[in-house]
Symmetry: D2
Subunit: 134 residues, 4 copies
């Protein structure tokens, strides 16, 4: 599990005093980018190589609200390649409780085309992420 | 179908020149709020009555990227109550092509508790939304 | 004055039930893009021509809070070129009251360099914006 | 100086590959909240006490663009109370260069009214922030 630690700030909250449901998506992205970085490949460096990893599906289950000021762990792992998709699972944990779960599917793209064969350097990084050998 | 018309602005885009995947969530919310308004009940008025409709699940499929400047229709409908859930389906259409599809499940909450019986005024509005009699 | 009409949605609000101060910046951008569009030049078309108009200074005075559900007019005008800068003034009006005022300075840039001479097509559009002959 | 370290993520960028000008406002808020936390008072705890610190003016000068993947330090300090205002200065530093500067004015509010006398617990925290004795 790759863990990102965050705090619910005013700009994440809405009128109900809880984290707005769309704000979770930013944290999911930050968790992925920081996990890639820890595995040795900056995401910006990857895009500079011409390879992009767009999100093709996003699923979120909100179990308990997060409140202003809450400290939250976003625990993520990459489940390994499934065809052209890289599924990435995350759960949001606060006060020892899973408060939300997410599943994102990524693909690799170069010049607007699906990349079926992964460049060696990138494969090595993804292997590390899948095995959690960070 | 309730239709919201939007344009992809700079703040929606990312480094790849396409709409960032998390930005779709704002449009989904705007579509719901404006549909409720058209059915005769402002969402802020509903929350002032003490009733809230939080999102409990969010699902998005991204089929084709949206580019800077694109004009997009967000077509939504409420599929009718399913137990305590109100499923709300949307599709994003650009140049006569469905570019993304979304399914959101809402529940009704009062004072932090699930509302199993819907207040009459709200039921009337939701019935209108379900029948698309806007 | 170019007028954009908006509603304060849940994603604009924070825990205090008011519009989060950073969310005003999105509306300022939308007002500029729609004013350019009305004057005959899409902003995305301008960037496709290789010309960009980045914001170099941003100033906002918040006079009264905006609340969830409020309907707001964003009234903007371009004050005319001042050296390389294009100052753009806006005010946020709600219930006949000015609730916030903004001043943004834009420059024109091509390939990362300040554009001192404005392309004819763009000059024509900016002249229209300055004279409010929309 | 209180320093917050951030990375420019895809959701911060726009079509031009640079950090969108409005996204800086989130980092300014995070810097203030984390500085308060380091001085011993969580911002959410302050709002739970009924005291809020809304932004009344915001000023940003953008000197150099920030690019996708950049690591940025946000260095902030509170300049001390000036009447009812608490001015908070920040600069964004990347590759040993100041790329943007910000000045925010905050006020203290309780039940919608300006707080002219600051509660003792809060005064102590603000004194620490002003003296940078973190």
């Amino acid at each position: 599990m790759w863990t990102l630690t965050k705090r619910v700030l005013p700009h994440h909250t809405d009128y109900a005093g809880v984290m707005w449901h769309g704000a979770y998506v930013q944290w999911l992205e930050e968790a992925r980018v920081e996990a890639l970085q820890a595995a040795g490949l900056g995401y910006a460096a990857m895009t500079a190589m011409g390879v992009d990893m767009p999100v093709v599906t996003l699923h979120l289950d909100y179990l308990h609200p997060l409140r202003h000021g809450d400290e939250v762990s976003v625990e993520s792992y990459c489940a390994g390649q499934q065809g052209v998709r890289w599924p990435w699972a995350s759960r949001f944990v606060c006060r020892d409780m899973v408060v939300a779960e997410a599943m994102v599917n990524l693909v690799m793209v170069r010049e607007g085309r699906l990349l079926r064969r992964v460049p060696a350097q990138l494969q090595e990084v993804m292997d590390q992420l899948v095995s959690q050998d960070l």
